[in-house]
Structures are given as structure tokens and as C-alpha cells.
Symmetry: C2
Subunit: 520 residues, 2 copies
């Protein structure tokens, strides 16, 4: 994907410098700086390492050089010099630092093109799928281990991308990272202890620029690592990235942005105001903890359809191979399809008599078989259990409740929302109609829903390609009113009603009720 950009945070300038003589005895450094400052319209900082390279490059090139400048904390910095005609490539690395998966985007800083995207499993999962377990592990002296693991992963991704694209790590000048507050604390070995206990405060909201070597990231030493800020413990840079990427903070009309994940993160507002809230929705929505949940890899069921007539099941898998499990993008579809087909009732209970052929007891609980052992890659069935369903309903109920608390807090209704941005690792894959059917998302016209894909990744890329992003993020942070969900009593009251499919109050879901003929 090529993106048009005129303001990346790494730039290259060709400099044709006058040669020194008796009438012009400026140093190599000053000769370069004077010329570059004209092009950059302001002071340019020259780090010692670059200063050391300048004399030889100037002389070898006959004083025709390429100057590579990166945006520092207060203006341009001369990160590198090369002889003219070197055709130096400039790359940026955007990272979506998720607690489950980490996604890397290699960006050509001159064209804005995304050269490669790779997703890798977060190795910190071995300390707990739930981020709380990892915070506890950090508190037991594991913080530097958590940091080491993620840095190592980043360097593996860099090495792989460099090899596969025949580029050098030194040609990557900037690394931008968007992640939730805790993940960013792990990355930088900042104490996360207070993130999960009252009054829920992070160690850091705004991360100033960091030299790659300081945290051990293998990109150009004279470049920078920029970690997007957070607004609070449960409101991280991943969601701020979504606000940035969606542009909702610049729009006249009201938008809602939801990042669907382990944490449900919500922003409501427009160019004048922004209200945000986040709360734990449970990991079930990402598929991680389901009996047969798996990551979005070859063999994962990613689409599913159940005929309400004959209850026949159709699915597709990633790579088209035999199924091994079910991944996040199919979870919501599965529950909606089971509900539509009457395999679960409004309380989420498996209707054993509706589809006895696929009902079986597994590990002493009732399960519904998606694919039997003879269809799968492993020879074992892929299924969903009664507990899985309860978990899913709890997660979707928490999600809806959070949305509702936010919209009520500003005296609006869901009908006032013109743009409903759905983000998250599988934001683009959520079928809004199915999400409405199970009562996870509000029953508003489908066309108002807009998947913006991986908000964290999109935002991190946006920062690479728009040099005012840091300032814009600062302004967004200042403007946001943050509602602390964990301590609001009405959340628990409202949640109870949302633990039904789609909701105990069917007037909230008129279209679902009509389509499925509920409550009549």
C-alpha cells in the first residue's frame, strides 16, 4: 500500500557544498550544518557520531553528499551523511505492541509504502495470558525479563525484515511503538505496579524520545524510538493511535471508536471534545482462552456459517487447510450463528435437543462440535463448550456496558453517533451485523460502522509519516476526559442486563428483535 505523504519524520537532503579554500575555512561540520539549516528552516543538531563521519564523506564525495535528518525532541538532527548517489534508502519501523501478538510494519520513508508486515506471538504470554499475571511477574523481579523478551522479539523481526528485503538495520532510522499502557511499561522497564491498583496510575504518561541503543533496539544508532503516550492505566497508546488514525479528533460530527480486545477501550467525541473509557472485557473476544481458540495462523477457522434451516455448518480456514482451531475473527460470528440457529438460547444455554448430532460431553461439560475429528488436521474435534459460551457472553456484555456507560455520561444516545470505528487486532474482520446480533455493539445502521483495522499499527505508521503527530497526540491527551470504569458502580448494575443475547431490554435492539422474532 502506497501512502501519499509530504511530511515524514525522516528525510534526505542532497547537499552540494562549496569546497573549502583560504577564503572559506569553515569546518566540515559547519559547512554541512550551514547548508542543511537552510533546507530545514532552523537549527540542526549534529550528534558526535555523525560529526565524526562528515570529514571523510565530504572528501570522498567531492563535497556532494546526502544528509539524512531525523526529527528530534526539538527539531531536525543530522543522523547520517553519505556520498551523493548512494541511493540511500530510508526506512521506518512501526510496531503494534499487543499483549498477544506484536505486529511489525516496515515503511519506506520516501514513498510512504509499507514494504512488509509481519505478526509474531508475544513471548511474554508464557508469564500469563492475562496482562495482570505479567504485572505480578514484574513485581516478583521479572520486569527486566519481560523487557528482554520483547526487545529480543523486536530485533528478531528487524533481522528477518532486513534479510527478506536485503536492507541493513542501519537504514531504519525511526521506530514508533503503539501499545497498551502496561505493554509500553514492560518495553521500557518502567514499574507497572500501580497500573493495576487504585488509583490506577502508570509510571509514565508521555514517553520522551529514546535512543535505540538505550533499550537495545537494532536500528540506526542516530535514530529514535518513539513510544506513543497513554492517558491512563487502561487507556494506552494503542487507542490514542486509533484516535490519530481515524481522524475523529478533527471531525465536526460525533464518532465513537472501540478497540475490541482483552480490554475494551472506547473513545467518544469530535473536534471539540473527547471522552474515553476502558475496562476489562475479558480475553474471550480474542479467542485466546476458548477451549479450541488459536492464533490467526494456517488452519484456524476464520469464517463460519450455520444454516438455521438444516443446521449445516460451513467454515473457511486460513490457508484453506484442515482446521486446527478457531481464531478471534470467527468467535463473534460463531456465537451469532449459534444464536440465530437456536443452538443457544437468550441466556446463552446450549440447547441440547436442537442439534443433538453435534452435542457431546467433553471433559465433563457440554460442548457443540464445529468440526469432528475426521475433518480436522489433528484428528481431534474443534468445539465450543458451555463455559466458553458463558465467557464469551460475559465479554460481549462487558463491552456493550462500557459503550453504554460512555454514551450516557455525555447525555447522548447511540443514535447520535455518525461514525462508529471498530479497531482491534481483528477490527477489519468483525461483522458488525453479527456483533449487533449478540448484543456486543449497539443496534445502529450498519453503514455507520467502519473497520479501521489495527488501530495501534495504523497510528504508529501515521506517526512515521506525519511530523506533527507528536504534537497532535499531546493535544489529544490534554483534551480527553477519562472515565475510570473500574470504580463506577453503575457498571455492575448495567452489566447484568447485558449478559443476555442480545440484552434483557429488547427495546435497545429493535432490529435484532425484529429479525430474529424475539420477545414476541
Amino acid at each position: 500500500m502506497a501512502r501519499i505523504t509530504t511530511e515524514p519524520i525522516v528525510v534526505k537532503h542532497g547537499l552540494n557544498l562549496p569546497e573549502p579554500g583560504l577564503g572559506d575555512n569553515r569546518s566540515h561540520e559547519k559547512r554541512t550544518r550551514d547548508s542543511l539549516q537552510l533546507l530545514c528552516s532552523g537549527p540542526v543538531f549534529i550528534p558526535l557520531n555523525t560529526a565524526r563521519k562528515i570529514p571523510a564523506v565530504l572528501e570522498q564525495s567531492g563535497f556532494n553528499i546526502e544528509a539524512i535528518a531525523v526529527l528530534g525532541e526539538c527539531g531536525w538532527e543530522l543522523a547520517d551523511v553519505r556520498p551523493s548517489g548512494s541511493h540511500a534508502n530510508l526506512f521506518g519501523l512501526a510496531i503494534d505492541l499487543g499483549s498477544t501478538s506484536v505486529v511489525f510494519y516496515l515503511v519506506n520513508m520516501e514513498t510512504g509504502e509499507i514494504i512488509q508486515t509481519i505478526s509474531m506471538e508475544n513471548p511474554q504470554r508464557r508469564h500469563g495470558e492475562d496482562i495482570l499475571d505479567r504485572i505480578l511477574f514484574a513485581g516478583r523481579g521479572g520486569l527486566s525479563t519481560l523487557q528482554d523478551e520483547i526487545i529480543k522479539l523486536i530485533n528478531q523481526a528487524i533481522a528477518r525484515m532486513c534479510q527478506e528485503n536485503s536492507i541493513k538495520p542501519e537504514s531504519i532510522y525511526y521506530c514508533t511503538v503503539a501499545g497498551n499502557t502496561t505493554m509500553c511499561h514492560f518495553l521500557l522497564a518502567l514499574d507497572p505496579a500501580h497500573i493495576c491498583k487504585e488509583p490506577y496510575i502508570p509510571a509514565v504518561n508521555t514517553f520522551d524520545l529514546i535512543r535505540p541503543a538505550h533499550v537495545g533496539i537494532d536500528i540506526n544508532d542516530q535514530g529514535y524510538v518513539y513510544v506513543l503516550p497513554n492517558v491512563g492505566s487502561y487507556f494506552g497508546g494503542d487507542l490514542l493511535a486509533g484516535i490519530l488514525a481515524s481522524g475523529m479528533y478533527q471531525k465536526e460530527e460525533i464518532s465513537m471508536l472501540v478497540d475490541v480486545g482483552t480490554n475494551a477501550e472506547v473513545v467518544l467525541g469530535n473536534k471539540d471534545w473527547l471522552v474515553a473509557c476502558a475496562g476489562a472485557a475479558g480475553p474471550a473476544l480474542e479467542g485466546g482462552i476458548l477451549s479450541c481458540g488459536m492464533r490467526a495462523q494456517e488452519g484456524a477457522i476464520d469464517r463460519i456459517n450455520i444454516s438455521p434451516q438444516d443446521l449445516s455448518v460451513k467454515y473457511t480456514t486460513i490457508g484453506g487447510s484442515k482446521p486446527k482451531g478457531i481464531c478471534g475473527s470467527a468467535i463473534i460470528d460463531l456465537l451469532a450463528e449459534m444464536f440465530r440457529a437456536g443452538i443457544v438460547d437468550q441466556t446463552g444455554k446450549l440447547m441440547k435437543d436442537r442439534d443433538p448430532a453435534r452435542i457431546r460431553q467433553i471433559h465433563e461439560e457440554w460442548a457443540w462440535i464445529i468440526a469432528s475429528g475426521d475433518e480436522t488436521a489433528t484428528g481431534k474435534p474443534v468445539y465450543i463448550t458451555q463455559s466458553d459460551i458463558k465467557n464469551l457472553i460475559r465479554s460481549k456484555g462487558a463491552m456493550y456496558t462500557i459503550l453504554n456507560v460512555v454514551i450516557q455520561s455525555v447525555g447522548l444516545t447511540f443514535g447520535d453517533i455518525e461514525n462508529f470505528f471498530v479497531a482491534g487486532a481483528f477490527g477489519n474482520y468483525i461483522n458488525p451485523e453479527n456483533a449487533i446480533t449478540i448484543g456486543m455493539l449497539p443496534d445502529i445502521p450498519i453503514e455507520r460502522y467502519k473497520g479501521i483495522g489495527n488501530a495501534a499499527g495504523e497510528g504508529a505508521i501515521h506517526v512515521l509519516l506525519h511530523r506533527d503527530s507528536k504534537k497532535e497526540l499531546g493535544k489529544i491527551c490534554e483534551r480527553i476526559t477519562y472515565l475510570e470504569m473500574n470504580v463506577r458502580g453503575d457498571f455492575m448494575n448495567q452489566l447484568t442486563g447485558a449478559l443476555f443475547l442480545p440484552h434483557t431490554d429488547l427495546s435497545r435492539f429493535p432490529n435484532v428483535a425484529r429479525r430474529l422474532n424475539l420477545g414476541s
Copy 2:
């Protein structure tokens, strides 16, 4: 010496922060930053290392902390946080990076007091007393050796000062360095190759701020090393330091500043204009290469007096012990006294018949004995040879000629100079009358001469205590017109006349001629 300052480049602020609560969930970092920014009247950069320390310090101190801020490239940076009442001391280290001696000043940044001054021999001398030899050594692959040696020396000085004052290296937050252009290039491992060959250009004129760890200097990691800029190969930060310390760039009247050393460095001007020039005057003036020259240590003759009547010799030594040699501060006195007493004539020739008791042949040349073997600590005599005298006269002649070329270049005469600042490692010790007598300095009223001591050291200290210094130095650099002495033909013509005592043209030294009854 206590100096009044209200604007040091390292400051401490007491912060009494509000404790976090449900209504104020700012991170520890933001809580600190918001408060500090009010006191600093602008954005404050918080490096990752400091950010990591903040949470624990805030909690341990009940949110009463001391914030230590250092001036960065574009404003204040939070270098450290400590619990309130820690009575954290803040120090700065000013370094005069001389080719012969390196002088260290430990400065209390809160009072401006100089806690300790130590002088150490530059270990690079083993690669050659002449700086040119060291440049050649650098060209043969010795650059990193030269850097290592000087960094090691700096760290030795820091360790010693810390031990003797019971402070920690981490409490030193800033290191300022003034030295000649070549020495600064060695310090930073910058290629000095072009400094000594046409068109005489340094690699770098302006050194941007450097983290201590980057060059391996053992002070607080979150502080900075600042190396004063240079205007050219023969016009270094040492002389710029003198311009800064003398204040001549702010005065209405015309001043001349001379740094007496291996290089004669001269600045002429006032608040509106500055002309500078430098040239090799030879190392003899520093005493380094004389037969019995030594550093200003215990046993060095530092004052000398010869009775013109009975030719009796009186001297004092550093520490009052038996003499071992003669140091820089006594060299000019010695030549002037010998000239006054008629022991050397106007051409510099030893008058063997004038003082036969002290005349002796040593290593096949004539020498005049200052102290005989039975007076000295070593049992060997301390003396000056005919070659020593020739070297001295060549050096003083070069010095005078440089001054004369500069004053002529702007159409002024020495009589127009209101302030004549004499700097150099022993600037305070030069007796202007003696320097005039030998024709090294112009014959103007004695009271216009002002020793400003070690200009490089004074300037480096000035930078620590005046936060606008970096900007002022930038303005001085832009304003200076530099005369390249090495390529001016009239220098050699003028030098010939100056190789006499005091000069072939006695009308230039009317007071000396009158006092010594010369030319009559």
C-alpha cells in the same frame, strides 16, 4: 573563591506534589513534569533513566522531591530526582584542556564556589611535545589512543576530586571543556588531519552536547559534556573562553586579549567587532623544552631576580624546597633579568665575560648557571643555555609580531588599547614589565595590563554558571574576523626585527630604551 551566580546550567527545584487520587490519575511522570514545567517556564525533557526512578522516589518521599534539571540542547531536562531533604549536592566540572597541562575545577553549582582545582600533566605528551607530532600520530592510527589517554586522565581527576571531597561522581552533572581546536578533536576522536594543512580546516567548529557515557566520562549519565566551539584550526575554544571570561565582547572600549602559550592567540576588538589571529610562537614560553624546564610543581623556580649591580641571584621555588628546574612563570623574568644585568646582549648572546663565575660549557654549549649543583635537590645544576635563549627570543619575537600584525590589520596602534588581557596557563604570573623589557608585549602603560589567569579554565567555569553562554559563544563565533597568520608574508618580514631584545626598532619601546639606557 565564591562567585555570585543566578543562572547556573544545573539547578535544583523542590517539588511538593499533590498525591494521586481518583480525581487525579496523572502518572508519576506527568505529575512531576507538570509541576517542574511551571518552575522552568517551558517544556522539560525527561530521559528514560530518570523516568524509571520517579515512581519509587515519589512514593518514598511522600511526593516531596528535589528535581535536578540540566540545560539541554533546547531547554531543561530532568536529570535526577531525589527525596526532599536529601541535601543533594550539585557539582560541575570545568576543564582547561591544555596540550601540556590539563586543569580541573570542581564547582559547586548552587553557590558558584570553586571547591577544588587540580592540574595534571597531559599524558599525550609522550607522543610529542609539539601538537603537530600528535596530529601525525593520530594519522598513523593513534587517534583512539589519544582519546583514551585524555579520557582516562579526566576520570582520574574526577575520582580524585570525588574522594578528596567525599562526593559521588553522579553528583557532577555537567562537564565543560575549553581547549585548543586540536586538543578538542583528540578528546572527541574527531579527525584532526586537516587542522595542520592548507586550507587549515577543523572537522568541527561547533560541538553539540554530548552524553558523558558516549565519550566515557564518569559523571552523571543524565548530564552533559559541553566542549566550547572553535573558530578555526588555530583559534580554539580556549581563546573563545578567554573572550567570554574577559567580557571584552561586551565592552565599549577596545581590548586586546593574548593567550601566551605554544600558540600565541590574539583577539582585538570591542562590543561591535572582533579580529582574531593565532600563530605558532613556539613552546619555549611555557618552559617545556628548555634544558632545565619543568612543570609548576614542588621545587620549580617560579620567581627570579638578578642584581644588575653585583649580579647576585635570588629565586623562590614552589613549596620553598631546593630547586629542581625552572617553570614557565619564571622564564620571561629570567630573560628580562639577564638582559637588564647585561648577561645577554640585545641579540641574545651570552656575555661570557660579564658573569664568568656562572658561565660554563655544558654538553658542548655555553650555559649560565642559575643554581649550582650544591644548591639543588638533584645535585645537578639548574641552568639556561645559549640555545635556550635563542628559542626564547624566537618565541617572544613571534608573539610580538603576531600582536603587531593584528593591530596593523585594523589600522590601530597599541596606544589605542584600553585593556590588555594576558591569559595562558601562567597568565596571572607574567610580570608585564618584564615581558615588555624583552619585547614580547608592547610598551604601553603597565596599568592597562590585566592578567585573567587561565582563560580556558575561567571560560569553562563561566559556562557552568551562565546559562546564556552557549548562545553568547555562538554570537562571538559569528562576529569574529579571523586572520590566517600562517599565510601572511609580512609576518616573516616583521619577525626579523623582533628577534632582538627588545626590538631592532627602539622607537617601539621608548620606556624600555629609556630605563635601560639603550641606543644612546
